[in-house]
């Protein structure tokens, strides 16, 4: 997973979570007001930058299964906290 880490993904400073698919309804994307966003709890490595879209799909909320798409690759991670945060963000 060169160039892609959970820290990159969690940062709100430089990207928008484009598609967090949850089975069922998908409301219109609400803007996250970055000025009101809390400090990131995970620091980015210096020089980190997105080179293209980074897309997340929550495939199983209870298991915390998240598919990540970047470039020509797909990654799968399991993180229940992250899945819960994403789900809560769209409620």
């Amino acid at each position: 997973m060169a160039g892609l880490s959970r820290r990159n993904f969690l940062s709100r400073g430089s990207m928008t979570v484009v598609a967090a698919g949850v089975a069922g309804s998908m409301p219109a994307i609400a803007t996250t007001a970055t000025s009101a966003a809390p400090e990131a709890s995970v620091a980015l490595e210096e020089g980190s930058a997105l080179e293209g879209p980074l897309i997340a799909q929550v495939t199983n909320l209870q298991q915390g299964a998240i598919s990540l798409f970047s470039g020509e690759q797909e990654f799968q991670i399991f993180d229940r906290d992250l899945a819960a945060k994403l789900f809560n963000a769209i409620k």
Binding site: A19, P53, F69, G71, Q73
Partner: protein, 489 residues
């Protein structure tokens, strides 16, 4: 096209819709094999202002299995790039396009232009793969618009000498020719009648809903396609690089299929130019081996899935469609009393499992290949795989007098031994499904007389005698959509 708009999803995605696949020992150079995969079906030649093109966001592949396990040993990948050379112009071209020039050439009138990279991928048994770039930024000729925009089309863009859209390559031990661009569609079929409840115009007087017999009408007469064509030495495709001479050797058989893939995630109008963008792994959306399989055998509810699966799934998930095809049963309903022997056979033989298929002949033709010993000096079975692949026996030389009925007509160089441009695959498969090939596996079966006569009554344009074999694309100016040309069979 033997697989045009054949599934619900791909019918909405013509750029990735594989329509025909041809594989044959080249008649003008029998040391080579020609592979042709057609996409973007049903092109009206006058389809401007945005004429047809390959997809920059599609991975096109021609795949070869040379050890009979149904998995690709070799793949040729095509990736396209499109540029607009003349900012601000709404036109495909601002004046006559009189030569094949690189994008951005000063003075060129060519605005919307495509090039492509060709890569050969070799898949190894240890799971690794080797990629060899055989050509970069190879030029695609323009669509055939008309005498003012693309004058003297064939001599301009595929001349016998000079700069041509036919590109020769020789890289790291791999050599051959490649072409990608618009050509005349060589497939012929009476779509209007065939999909009107299986009507064959020459026999419609015998149909359940009869009318007077009539000549077939080639629905594709006057239509163009986009072709990916390769001609490579036989030994660059075969198992261990051999050049087989024994047509009864399993190593003489290669299996071929074409696929188109898109990236898994598609974001609409996401680029600065308002184009869709793709992210994630390449995901297969279209597949074609033998003609007419997904079109006429696979149920609608499974067609999209079939397009997304590899050929190795055919022996399990989709086997029943080959073993007990609905079309055979429909022939008896739609043409009452014409196929009594077939009707009787189907009543007793309708198994859907490999251990007891209802139609072992169709399984052999389309899924396993015909084993040695059935037809003297012939086989298309190269291994144990039950997989829909166009199987070509490279040890059988081209015929000096091709019969469009292929093996059914006594011509062992024709379909289902690969597929040549002129093979009448509609008639061949209709006759096979009607029982004409059952005696190969059941000598006690006598086909109905009508089985050996079935045809939709159409024929297609003559093939060229040399690569890329498909004829000059129809001109938009000369072939407007409202005035069909060449539609009579």
């Amino acid at each position: 096209m033997s697989s045009h708009r054949e599934a619900p999803q791909i019918s909405k995605d013509p750029t990735a819709d594989s329509s025909d696949l041809y594989a044959f020992v080249s008649p003008d150079d029998p040391s080579t094999v020609t592979l042709i995969a057609n996409y973007v079906p049903l092109q009206a030649p006058d389809g401007g202002p945005n004429f047809y093109e390959f997809g920059d966001d599609v991975l096109y592949s021609i795949n070869i299995d040379n050890d009979g396990d149904g998995e690709a040993n070799i793949a040729y990948h095509f990736r396209f790039t499109t540029v607009n050379n003349i900012p601000g112009s709404f036109l495909y071209n601002n004046g006559p396009i009189t030569e094949l020039t690189k994008p951005g050439t000063a003075g060129s009138n060519w605005n919307r232009q495509q090039t492509y990279h060709l890569t050969r991928v070799d898949f190894h048994k240890n799971g690794k793969k080797t990629s060899t770039v055989l050509g970069k930024s190879i030029l695609v000729p323009p669509c055939n618009i008309g005498p003012r925009s693309t004058p003297d089309y064939e001599n301009t863009f595929l001349p016998s000498s000079g700069k041509s859209a036919v590109h020769s390559f020789d890289k790291d031990g791999y050599s051959g020719k490649v072409f990608a661009g618009q050509r005349a569609d060589a497939f012929f079929v009476d779509l209007g009648s065939v999909f009107d409840l299986g009507t064959l115009r020459p026999f419609q007087n015998l149909h359940l809903i009869p009318s007077a017999a009539a000549a077939g009408i080639n629905s594709l007469g006057g239509s163009n396609v986009h072709s990916l064509a390769l001609q490579v030495p036989i030994e660059e495709l075969t198992h261990k690089g051999h050049k087989p001479s024994d047509p009864e050797s399993p190593h003489a058989v290669i299996g071929v299929w074409t696929t188109a893939s898109r990236q898994k995630i598609r974001m609409t109008a996401a680029s600065k130019k308002g184009e869709d963008t793709g992210t994630g792994p390449w995901t297969q959306v279209s597949r074609l081996g033998n003609p007419l399989v997904n079109e006429a055998l696979i149920g609608i509810e499974d067609k999209d899935k079939w397009n997304a699966e590899p050929p190795t799934k055919d022996g399990t998930r989709f086997f029943g469609y080959f073993a007990n095809p609905l079309l055979a049963k429909l022939l008896n309903v739609l043409y009452p009393g014409v196929f009594p022997n077939l009707a009787s056979y189907i009543k007793k033989n309708h198994g859907t499992t490999p251990s007891k298929p209802g139609r072992p002949d169709l399984v052999a033709i389309l899924l396993s290949g015909i084993p040695a010993g059935i037809v003297p000096g012939f086989r298309t079975n190269g291994g144990d795989a039950l997989a829909d692949m166009l199987r070509l026996n490279v040890a059988i030389p081209p015929s000096s007098d091709p019969d469009s009925l292929g093996v059914l007509g006594g011509d062992l160089a024709g379909f289902p031994n690969g597929r040549r441009v002129g093979d009448n695959v509609v008639a061949i498969e209709l006759r096979a499904i009607a029982g004409a090939t059952l005696p190969l596996v059941d000598p006690s079966y006598t086909p109905d007389g009508a089985a050996s006569l079935l045809t939709d009554g159409t024929s297609g344009p003559d093939a060229l005698s040399a690569f890329p074999y498909l004829a000059t694309p129809y001109s938009g100016y000369a072939t407007p959509d409202t005035t069909p040309v060449g539609h009579t069979g």
